[in-house]
């Protein structure tokens, strides 16, 4: 076993050496370097395209998915080897994708064979970019209150309604969407459908955030006809799939959009300075130290959860805990960055501020969404209290 793994390591190393383009071994300089793929994606760097094609062809964008659906077919141990070899050469992720992080895992679990064969390989190769149609204007934290109507019209579904906070819907090719198929019940009246965004009647409109960026959209569905075979799971059985997908989502997001290139300690040293090796602002120093400890504690806990999962423990219920802790951590980090950078982090645009300074400001504002997107901190604390701790209204 160990011998096989070492052989796999050698092969992997050789393949990466031959196939990972030089510019893909340099650190990403910002969110703009993230490759999201999709039908209309414009690669800024031809090597990024090459890197995605090569990794996609090997299935290594989704290393542990079965090879029959385009995945790498690797065992957990082999995947660890692959990840460590990727890390060793500082390789950039070839693909950022809601398809990889959220949809794929639930399709593997709930979709039928045709759906898996149709959608999974395109996710692996980055050919189709997906967005998430979950929240609605009237259904935020109370997601199951969603009203987007899906009617059975014999040979197709007819969808009418509005989604909100659909990240990158304006760039997406397809949408995985929660719809109401029974209005007489709440959770049991929800279904999970896949919608091609080019279908007539689908419109998107970006939402500008306080950071100035627009990762989110409103998405409108007006008499959208969806083929019958695009429902995943059974009619009115969508809530279970929805919740499972949220677990994957919460594991994957918690610190989106922040300037992670700059360490808060370096920033504080630069703008405040040391006196005999000690940061001159002692109060800020203590708070940064406490933050660095929490950061370490969080990283160690993620590592521990991975180890426990490998040993067969069920840690999926911990996703909400990690979502809360990760979001809080990133928000605190961004606040400390702004504090450490002083007025350098109070710019908005123009040449009076460096790109890093502006990224600190924008990242700080973007981080305010971390405790809201993917389930608010309050909702996730509810989940921890109820599902992990067993605290309920009645006993």
């Amino acid at each position: 076993m160990t011998q096989d793994l070492e052989a796999f390591r050698a092969e992997t190393r050789a393949w990466l050496e031959a196939n990972c383009p030089p510019s893909m071994r340099t650190p990403m300089t910002g969110e703009d370097d993230a490759v999201w793929g999709g039908r209309n994606y414009e690669f800024k760097n031809p090597e990024a395209k090459l890197w995605l094609e090569r990794m996609g062809a090997k299935g290594w964008t989704a290393p542990t998915w079965p090879a029959e659906y385009g995945g790498g077919g690797l065992s957990a141990d082999e995947n660890r080897v692959l990840q460590s070899e990727l890390k060793k050469i500082g390789a950039r992720p070839p693909l950022f994708s809601f398809g990889l992080w959220m949809l794929g895992p639930v399709l593997l679990e709930y979709a039928n064979e045709e759906q898996k064969k149709e959608h999974l390989p395109k996710i692996v190769r980055g050919e189709i970019r997906w967005c998430q149609g979950y929240s609605e204007p009237g259904a935020g934290s109370d997601l199951a209150g969603l009203q987007t109507k899906c009617e059975d019209k014999g040979d197709h579904w007819l969808i009418n309604g509005q989604k909100v906070w659909t990240s990158y819907a304006n760039y997406a090719d397809w949408c995985f969407c929660l719809v109401r198929t029974d209005t007489s019940v709440k959770h049991e009246g929800i279904s999970f459908v896949l919608i091609d965004m080019t279908t007539p009647g689908v419109e998107t409109r970006p939402i500008k955030l306080i950071s100035g960026s627009s990762p989110f959209c409103e998405t409108f569905f007006t008499d959208v006809k969806v083929p019958k075979h695009q429902m995943v799971g059974r009619l009115n059985g969508g809530w279970e799939i929805a919740k499972r997908l949220l677990q994957y989502e919460r594991t994957n997001i918690s610190g989106f959009g922040s300037n992670t290139r700059v360490d808060v300690v370096d920033l504080a040293k630069k703008h405040i300075g040391l006196e005999d090796g000690v940061l001159e602002d002692r109060d800020l120093r203590a708070r940064i130290a406490a933050h660095k400890m929490t950061e370490r504690a969080y990283a160690l806990s993620v590592q521990r959860a991975q180890e426990e999962a490998k040993a067969g423990g069920n840690v999926s219920h911990m996703a909400s805990m990690f979502k809360v802790a990760g979001a809080t951590l990133n928000i605190d980090r961004c606040e400390l960055m702004v504090e450490a950078a002083g007025n350098r982090a109070l710019g908005w645009s123009g040449e009076g501020f460096s790109a890093d300074d502006l990224a600190t400001t924008r990242g700080w504002l973007r981080s305010k969404g971390n405790s809201i997107e993917g389930g608010t901190t309050e909702i996730n604390l509810n989940v921890v209290a109820k599902r992990v701790l067993g605290l309920r209204d009645t006993q």
């Binding site: 969080y298 802790a325 009645t394």
Partner: protein
């Protein structure tokens, strides 16, 4: 790095759990306190020693089990759960570590077997003022004689062997040596301690100098953090059970969101701290080069967590939580003592910042 206990450590943890739950539940501490034993319970210590817990980190050649710090940490965590009053941390971890790291061959051969069997209780004497400040020791050693004072020496009132930290080195002193005076302290946690003064006391210098003191203290800090995680876990679980059973306004209070969120936050904090302590114990067994970072991380976080857990225990129990008949107060008092020993959260945040270069 690993967070998973090996078979030896897991079995040890299970037997410790069973033993402490049956033989040393919190009611035993309460009885000791009411009888004014101030932490003295020789029968309990004999039983603990008979189970081999006093020799967990001591190598087999000196009569121990040689299982390492992860294993002893697991035992200490279980001891922390029921607030077991015994010199397990002082002697089997701190004292044994001092001898293992700084003892001469002769000192190891003389003392380690007796510590492993529980026949001798060792204790480390570190602080000289109201706060943990190991670098500021005023202990003097001249002509084989030790002079100075040590304050709040954990289990110093029951120790047979005192390992004294000076600014430049460590010294071994027998507790019955001429010139050594102990003033027994009756402490808030009912465990007792001692202020010890040394007036020209015969002492043996240990093998290594000042640089080893921090290494020994780091072991003491990490081991104590394991006990603290145990106490915090138990405080949390007792509180969580109470939330599920106590009814007001016609419903269990655990159904109120304000309390659910406090419980969920405390649980998260506890799990994050547990990861730090497990990683720190593992770092000791791996002989990692950044043990100091792990020690300050574990001790600072354990201090904050046990503080929060025990304070929430009192508050969420309401009226019963502030009465002496309830255990919450016992957890709160022990928490405060462990927070202060070998440096509290602010000491270790300051040290962590220095270790990280700011």
């Amino acid at each position: 790095m690993t967070f998973t206990l090996n078979d030896d450590a897991r079995m040890l943890k299970e037997s410790a759990r069973d033993f402490f739950r049956e033989q040393a539940p919190v009611t035993r501490l309460r009885k000791q306190r009411d009888a004014k034993q101030n932490g003295r319970d020789p029968d309990l210590w004999a039983e603990i020693s008979a189970l081999g817990f006093a020799g967990v980190i001591i190598p087999e050649e000196y009569g121990g089990a040689g299982l390492g710090y992860v294993a002893l940490g697991a035992v200490l965590e279980e001891a922390g759960r029921t607030l077991v009053a015994s010199p397990l941390h002082s002697s089997a971890l701190a004292g044994a570590s001092a001898l293992l790291l700084a003892g001469t061959d002769a000192q190891k051969a003389e003392w380690l077997p007796k510590i492993a069997s529980g026949e001798v209780i060792a204790s480390i004497a570190i602080d000289e003022g109201a706060h943990h400040a190991p670098a500021k020791s005023k202990i003097k050693f001249e002509g084989g004689k030790l002079s100075g004072e040590k304050h709040y020496v954990a289990d110093g009132h029951i120790a047979d062997l005192i390992i004294v930290a000076a600014a430049d080195a460590l010294y071994l002193v027998k507790a019955d040596a001429a010139g050594l005076t102990r003033r027994e302290l009756v402490t808030a946690d009912s465990r007792g301690a001692a202020d010890i003064s040394f007036a020209g006391v015969a002492a043996e210098k240990m093998n290594l100098g000042a640089e080893i003191i921090d290494a020994i203290l780091d072991r003491a800090r990490i081991g104590l953090a394991a006990e603290m995680v145990g106490a915090a876990s138990e405080a949390f679980e007792i509180t969580s059970e109470y939330l599920k059973t106590r009814k007001q306004f016609g419903q269990v209070i655990g159904g109120f969101q304000a309390l659910q969120h406090r419980a969920a936050k405390l649980f998260t904090d506890l799990e994050l701290t547990r990861s730090c302590v497990l990683a720190a114990l593992d770092a000791l067994d791996r002989n990692a080069n950044n043990v100091a970072e792990y020690a300050s991380l574990a001790k600072a976080r354990a201090s904050e967590t046990v503080h929060l857990a025990t304070n929430e225990m009192v508050q969420l129990h309401g009226g019963i939580g502030m009465t002496d008949v309830h255990d919450a107060g016992l957890y709160l008092k022990r928490a405060r003592v462990t927070e202060a020993l070998y440096g509290g959260a602010s000491f270790h945040r300051d040290r962590y910042a220095s270790l990280l270069g700011f």
